[in-house]
Symmetry: C2
Subunit: 282 residues, 2 copies
């Protein structure tokens, strides 16, 4: 089987493709040593990246929150072009863009892109839905907005807790997680945005809770509003999800994964998932 | 000026020294992409690593909490030996040991060591003390003990928030940070343990709060107890620090840095720092 993965690094003002298995950062890179950097995961569809602008906007915001100099959107576009060169149009992929503080000592930040096929498990979950458990982050919903050192709203490379939440879910037989605040207020998934339909409206939690501004939920809400499906940023709890008509975890690569089980309780989607998918696919 | 830095990586069951500026991990390494790994910072004194066993024990514990296979202490000892080869005995250094989940797909974890001289600023702070501000983590002190997905007690590579706390302190003209719980209970520094002297006893917060078990505070407390200076794991607040006879931030490389200013208030050390340093130096 061919290795479809590809990698490109930003060097001296140019995107340079490198072999996928070549080492690309030194032991001093603060992205490696401290998880000190930002990233984005960008869907590759039909050989292109239709949602790239929203990801680049968020990466710029993450870099600002982390106070890491940003190489400019043209650098990211060049890196995306470099990893996409030769990519088979019929293969769905995911590009990860990484920006780290670099190795220090006045060296520039590290910027690179990596591209791989979408994992089969991700495709399965998109199709068949996910079993989800709720786990608390232990922080009050209003706390992060007034504590900038907690980096609420920044998509950082420090995802050890996000990955540990997945392992905890898997150990309980679940696929994914909805993180909640100390008071039980809905926040987000470790790598997704929570959305639900209730009372004829599409809902998602407000970003004032310190969650990431989801690129997929933004697209969904814009298109739903345009065709008369009301949308709202709503403070809610896991109980509200149990009572909702449908619940999804939204992310750029997996799309809208319907939640078929929440904390062990089976639930339906009132036939709404196809409508959501249709809106996202436009 | 000679580049004193050195790096060694674990490859096929052996420690291999590599040039310090050589790239050592691929773009797929989960330590880079997700901050998914553990580390230790080990002091190099007189050409040796007298406190290595305590760091290796904590690294084993971090790996277990992260569910990352551990290559065994002999691997770490070989890596330490490899980076120390040729190191000038009169230069104080710091070895960082990194263990990451590796690049995935059944590849082994990444294990490597890097050695550099102790930064001049660290030496300055050890000598002249530090100005510290208190910042809240927003999590109740008892929360992390019952939420294993938050990785309390694991020294992970996901230090973006720790670094952001430093930047926040620096923006306010301070050197360092004491993190507190949601209720204001003392936790730890971003890369240190808090200790204080009050009522004839040495105090430090209990690890049930989710803080790291400090290797330096353990050594200090053992030696202090042995010569009749009582020690205690004490739940306390920033107010208790203001009222204390002396406050230190303890870490393996910087040692005992006296806190000379706390949240803008100057404070003394009742002449106790020299005694603490003498205990640590034995």
């Amino acid at each position: 089987m061919t290795d479809l993965r590809s990698v490109a690094v930003w060097r001296n003002g140019a995107a340079v493709a490198v072999p996928a298995d070549e080492a690309v950062v030194t032991a001093w890179d603060q992205g490696l040593v401290r998880g000190d950097g930002a990233f984005e995961s960008v869907a590759v569809l039909d050989g292109g990246t239709p949602h790239l602008p929203a990801h680049l906007a968020r990466l710029t915001r993450s870099a600002a929150l982390l106070e890491i100099p940003h190489p400019g959107d043209d650098a990211w576009r060049a890196l995306v072009g470099a990893v996409l060169a030769g990519w088979p149009v019929d293969t769905e992929g995911v590009i990860r863009l990484l920006l780290t503080r670099g190795p220090g000592d006045d060296a520039p930040p590290t910027a690179l892109a990596l591209l791989a096929p979408v994992p089969a498990e991700t495709v399965r979950q998109r199709t068949t839905g996910v079993s989800v458990i709720s786990l608390s982050l232990g922080v009050p919903a209003d706390f992060r907005a007034r504590a900038p050192w907690l980096l609420g709203g920044a998509k950082t490379l420090s995802y050890a807790v996000n990955m540990a939440a997945y392992r905890h879910a898997h150990s309980l037989g679940a696929d994914d997680v909805v993180l909640t605040s100390l008071e039980g207020e809905l926040l987000e998934g470790p790598t997704s945005t929570v959305a639900w339909a209730a009372g004829g409206t599409l809902h998602t939690p407000p970003t004032e809770t310190g969650i990431l501004p989801g690129t997929t939920v933004a697209r969904l809400f814009e298109r739903a509003s345009a065709e008369g499906w009301p949308t709202a940023r709503t403070r809610a709890t896991v109980d509200d999800l149990h009572a909702a008509d449908a619940v999804w975890l939204l992310s750029g690569v997996r799309g809208a994964a319907p939640v078929h089980t929440l904390d062990g309780v089976r639930r339906g989607d009132a036939g709404l998932t196809s409508r959501v998918r249709e809106l996202l696919a436009r």
